[in-house]
């Protein structure tokens, strides 16, 4: 198996699907000649031509509205939001329109559309190139939210997303693009949207995470194993619909749970998981439902010291796990 990066996995998934299905096309800022600011569409213009690789004006609301209109006519658009921070002007088209189109037309309309959003910090992006936007979409009925952490998952999930007949918010942690590498099979595969993946088996504590933070959790779990604490790591992969069953089964086994995300603490994905665990596994708990998340300040300060202070990392996860282990 070849070892590739997350960005290569993303590119490869789109390329294969565009070759397979002529209704798939990409649009966004700088996706053409430039190949995308992260090079996710590098080479696409040459291979697929400008009718399927559309450089748009810098106008996010229309990127989403146009993609939605094309989806109504049976195309499978993949609009790219250059940075998650720029998604806000398009929120009405995504949340107010696309996510409600099927429900609001009593099943007449279909929205086979994947919105790709590079998100997250740790790259000195400051307040406007680092944001975690997942909790906003996590709240919305009518769409699915996917956030892979590895090249293998990124490719398999993106291919499934493109074939899905519903609106998918596909979140790619931009720091993982080149940092995270992994094995990806040469042959065709897809990964279903929905199921999480237990990335490490363990019996003492469950840690639930996704995206880049997954890797800090895996590293911390390795550290804790040297201290005789056996940590199970659940990678959500899909945030909505949430794979409640895997989380609950894991907590029933371990009795303790730590939820780790880079996104702000309050109202984050972790808050919902905490409520579900309290509701469905209360009698199995042997410690407080714990969260290690970004603090409640705008993500993410620019100065190195402030950015580091904001972000969860391996040491912080390990400390939180030790504390929970000792409870």
């Amino acid at each position: 198996m070849a070892v590739i990066s997350v960005i290569e996995a993303v590119r490869s998934a789109m390329q294969e699907e565009m070759r397979r299905d002529s209704s798939v096309f990409v649009l966004g800022e700088d996706v053409g000649k430039r190949g995308g600011v992260f090079l996710s569409t590098q080479g696409f213009l040459d291979e697929f031509g400008e009718s399927r690789v559309i450089d748009t004006p810098l106008a996010e609301a229309s990127i989403m509205g146009i993609a939605l209109g094309a989806a109504f006519k049976g195309m499978r658009p993949i609009p790219e939001v250059q940075f998650s921070d720029f998604v806000w002007p398009s929120i009405n088209q995504l949340v107010g329109e696309a996510a409600r189109a099927r429900y609001g037309s009593n099943g007449q309309l279909t929205v086979p559309m994947v919105v790709r959003i590079p998100y997250g910090g740790g790259i000195r992006g400051g307040l406007y190139h680092s944001q975690n936007v997942e909790s906003f979409f996590f709240h919305v009925p009518g769409l699915k939210v996917v956030s892979p952490g590895t090249p293998y998952d990124a490719k398999g999930l993106l291919k499934s997303a493109i074939r899905d007949d519903n609106l998918i918010i596909f979140l790619e942690h931009k720091k993982s693009y080149r940092l995270v590498r992994g094995e990806v099979p040469e042959e065709e595969y897809t990964i279903p949207i929905g199921p999480s993946d237990v990335k490490r088996q363990g019996s003492n504590i469950t840690v639930v995470s996704y995206g880049l933070m997954l890797h800090h959790c895996l590293e911390a779990a390795e550290l804790l194993s040297q201290e005789d604490v056996d940590v199970e790591v659940v990678d959500l992969r899909t945030l909505r619909p949430l794979d409640t069953e895997t989380i609950i089964n894991s907590v029933k086994k371990t009795g303790k749970i730590l939820i780790v995300h880079e996104d702000n603490l309050t109202g984050g994905v972790g808050a919902e998981i905490a409520a579900i665990v309290a509701d469905q596994a209360f009698e199995y708990l042997d410690g407080p439902i714990s969260r290690l998340c970004g603090p409640d300040i705008p993500t993410m300060p620019f100065a190195q010291s402030l950015e580091e202070a904001y972000l969860p990392n391996t040491d912080k996860v390990a400390s939180a796990l030790r504390e929970l282990a000792q409870y």
Binding site: F25, S51, P57, A59, G69, F72, K73, R102
Partner: protein, 349 residues
């Protein structure tokens, strides 16, 4: 009825009144029978519109936006779209006449306004006649004004990619013309010369805010030039002029690119049944605009041309009332949507 005004406002437009009139004096492509048919549709829409307003006062219809005063534009443009064939419509909330003329039955309209089972747009999930009516090639999702414009542009983009002849027509008001997405939609359509018509129903009010407080210009169509679009001002109270302008616009959109049609028309009623226009609109202004009631002027035109006599006009009115009476009964008798259906159609499996 006045004769078509010659020449588009915007010289970049190619959709001037070049259409040949036939020997009958009618614009190309339509017959006296078409006009009789459309006169009947207009009377039917007006009758049901008035009935719906009354039913709101009776507590039977929660909300309605009236299309009274907009009928000539809505029907004239639909006639052009029907004659042309391949058009897909993105409407807005005041487009009852478009939706009915496109094929909805009075019974379906009543069920929709009463939030009953059998509303084809959303089966009672949304405000009346919002959602989609794909059988009649109409999408209208939301109440966020101008949201349909970029969607219509995307639909036109897909038409081009799929290699078909569909022209998107998106209806919106002068109020929506202020939205940022209107700019974005027209700009993108201009860049790619897409087959889309931006059909602005300018009734000079965004709820209570008059046009002079919305914009510094008189003709919204003038904005077309800034986007590389053809822009045309049309007397939207005159069904013949609307038909001709829309017909031209459709062929222009298909061959050369997008058109901004500004239909100057009047809103006879308050914004919705929840609004009170006496707070912001002088009574004499409403009296004055009603002098140009499109139902009356079209009726006069039909008799003047000898297409209908007064007896037939009266009969059409009677038939409309009978049809609406029956539709009202059907609406009242229809069941409410079953609460068990509330979770249906969130996703496509």
């Amino acid at each position: 009825m006045t004769q078509p005004r010659s020449g588009p406002k915007n010289r970049s437009a190619r959709s001037s009144r070049s259409s040949k009139t036939s020997d009958t004096g009618l614009p190309r492509g339509i017959t006296a029978d078409d006009l009789i048919d459309y006169y009947k549709r207009m009377v039917l829409v007006r009758t049901i519109d008035e009935r719906i307003w009354m039913m709101n006062r009776q507590g039977k219809v929660p909300i309605a936006a009236s299309s009274q005063g907009h009928e000539a534009t809505q029907l004239g443009s639909l006639l052009a779209a029907e004659k042309d064939g391949d058009c897909f419509l993105f409407t807005y909330y005041r487009d009852l006449a478009v939706k009915m003329a496109a094929g909805l039955t009075p019974s379906q309209v009543m069920k929709s306004f009463m939030g009953k089972e059998g509303d084809p747009y959303s089966n009672g999930r949304q405000f009346p006649l919002q959602g989609a009516d794909l059988d009649h090639k109409i999408i209208q999702l939301s109440n966020v004004v101008a949201a349909g414009l970029t969607q219509a542009v995307g639909y036109a983009l897909a038409s081009r990619m799929q290699g078909d002849d569909t022209v998107s027509i998106v209806y919106f008001g002068d109020g929506a013309s202020s939205q940022g997405e209107t700019h974005e939609a027209m700009n993108f359509a201009g860049v790619h010369k897409l087959p889309v018509i931006f059909l602005c129903e300018n009734n000079h009010y965004a709820i209570s805010v008059p046009q002079k407080s919305q914009m510094a210009i008189t003709d919204i169509a003038n904005r077309a030039e800034g986007y590389g679009l053809a822009g045309v001002v049309v007397d939207g109270m005159d069904i013949i002029q609307v038909y001709e302008a829309t017909r031209e616009a459709i062929s222009h959109a298909r061959s050369q690119g997008p058109v901004l049609l500004e239909m100057k028309l009047e809103r006879f009623m308050p914004h919705t049944t929840d609004d009170d226009d006496k707070r912001y609109r002088p009574a004499e202004e409403v009296d004055n605009i009603r002098q140009r009631d499109p139902v009356i002027t079209m009726g006069q035109y039909m008799t003047e041309q000898g297409f209908l006599n007064q007896e037939q006009i009266d009969e059409i009115s009677k038939e409309a009332t009978a049809a609406i009476n029956q539709a009202t009964d059907e609406g009242e008798e229809a069941p409410l949507p079953d609460p068990s259906t509330m979770f249906d159609h969130l996703f496509k499996d």
